[in-house]
């Protein structure tokens, strides 16, 4: 029996329900769930990522999967550092140019520093649509949300705001300041506006800097993909030439995994290489036994 939560209760004039949450009860249907409704940790408002893991078997022998949280691997840090550098360059330029997605959500910490105290420094200047991915309102210590274009937007689109206030539920009671709640309301409102062209003029096109940043980010992903596939092509023929057919798995040692700039200790990275080989119709396995790891740590393989 599935528990089917009913959400979407908007107001007294409408009642809607959905059984879509039943997907969370069927982890055999997917390999990754991005849950935009639950934060990844109490201190973070980022969406949580979950993967199904084998948990046991039923009486009939069918495997039972259970959702578990998955986090980044240390091998991701290098690529993320490059992406973050590109994003930061975009941030540095934001005071001089207007971007594609406006109005933006500017975050001002106390003491006049216009950014949150965050190790990755990424909570800055996102458009209202993208801000909807935040699970709830951001709540960093000593920080407040500032909406520099809020008044202009309310003045230009006051009619649409009243429409949205009737359709959108009130945010949950929060201990945050009024400014945070106001930001949440405005986020909801602008997201509603963004899908209806009748509710105002089109947003300005992205600046040249925004275009360059976006293309640079895409180029970084593309180059990394090309690197991974090049490495894979280099590994697959070498092992195939050893006399194995396509049906026999090709084994990869932990040392060979490091040539992909991936972590030999990471389960996600090991499966990632196996997935890439699977896309090419090859069966590949990463050796991750205790003996393989021991030999790798001693530098033998």
């Amino acid at each position: 029996m599935f528990v089917v939560p009913i959400f979407g209760v908007r107001s007294s004039d409408s009642l809607s329900g959905t059984t879509d949450a039943i997907f969370l009860e069927k982890p055999q249907l997917y390999d990754l769930v991005i849950d935009l409704t639950v934060p990844s940790s109490p201190r973070s408002n980022r969406p949580s990522l979950l993967v199904p893991r084998p948990y046991g078997t039923t009486n009939t022998g069918k495997p039972i999967n259970r959702l578990q949280y998955v986090r980044f691997t240390w091998s991701d840090v290098k690529l993320w550092a490059e992406l973050e550098r590109l994003i930061r360059e975009d941030e540095d330029d934001k005071h001089h140019h207007h971007h594609h997605c406006r109005p933006r959500l500017a975050v001002a910490a106390s003491g006049g520093v216009a950014r949150w105290i965050d190790p990755w420094r990424i909570y800055e200047d996102v458009c209202m649509v993208c801000a909807g991915m935040w699970t709830g309102t951001p709540s960093p210590k000593n920080a407040s949300l500032k909406l520099p274009e809020e008044e202009q937007m309310n003045g230009r689109r006051s009619g649409s705001a009243s429409i949205n206030s009737r359709k959108t539920p009130s945010p949950a009671p929060s201990t945050l300041g009024s400014s945070s709640n106001r930001a949440f309301n405005t986020t909801q409102m602008t997201r509603r506006l963004s899908v209806d062209p009748r509710l105002g003029p089109e947003l300005p096109p992205p600046s040249s800097k925004a275009i360059v940043t976006t293309l640079s980010l895409l180029s970084t992903f593309h180059n990394h993909t090309a690197f991974l596939l090049d490495r894979l092509n280099a590994v697959l023929p070498t092992n195939s030439s050893a006399g194995s057919s396509d049906q026999d798995p090709i084994f990869l040692t932990p040392k060979e995994v490091t040539t992909f700039d991936l972590g030999p200790m990471s389960d996600v990275d090991a499966r990632f290489i196996e997935w890439l080989a699977e896309c090419k119709g090859k069966k590949l396995k990463v050796r991750r036994g205790w003996r393989d790891m021991f030999m790798y740590l001693l530098g033998f393989t």
């Binding site: 959400f7 980022r46 997201r191």
Partner: protein, 104 residues
């Protein structure tokens, strides 16, 4: 020189810097699953626009290698918003082996 017309200006890729800021380094976990042509489900409450945007962006950053003609042929499928009525469609997409990204 790259020429971008007005239609391309509305491309969801221009939200990429924002989404990366929000997801942080975890966005690379999504990238790995999308590039590995896995089955990715985005679970959200209404409105679904941010979730659909995320699905499009995951497909864009994981387009994979180009064919001989310079066109990516095996992109991951973006199914949009799915419900229980789409279970057969999901199974069909799974059998295709190209993976999929859907919102629910």
């Amino acid at each position: 020189m790259v020429l971008i017309n007005n239609t391309q200006m509305d491309h969801p890729a221009f939200h990429l810097p924002h989404v990366l800021r929000i997801l942080g380094i975890s966005s690379l976990t999504i990238f790995k699953h999308a590039l590995g042509r896995r089955r990715v489900l985005i679970y959200t409450q209404p409105p679904v626009e941010p979730a659909c945007l995320l699905a499009q962006l995951a497909a864009v950053i994981s387009s994979g290698e180009e064919g001989d003609s310079g066109v990516v042929t095996n992109r991951i499928s973006v199914l949009g918003v799915v419900g229980l009525i789409d279970l057969q469609r999901i199974e069909r997409e799974t059998e295709s082996g190209r993976g999929w990204i859907a919102c629910s």
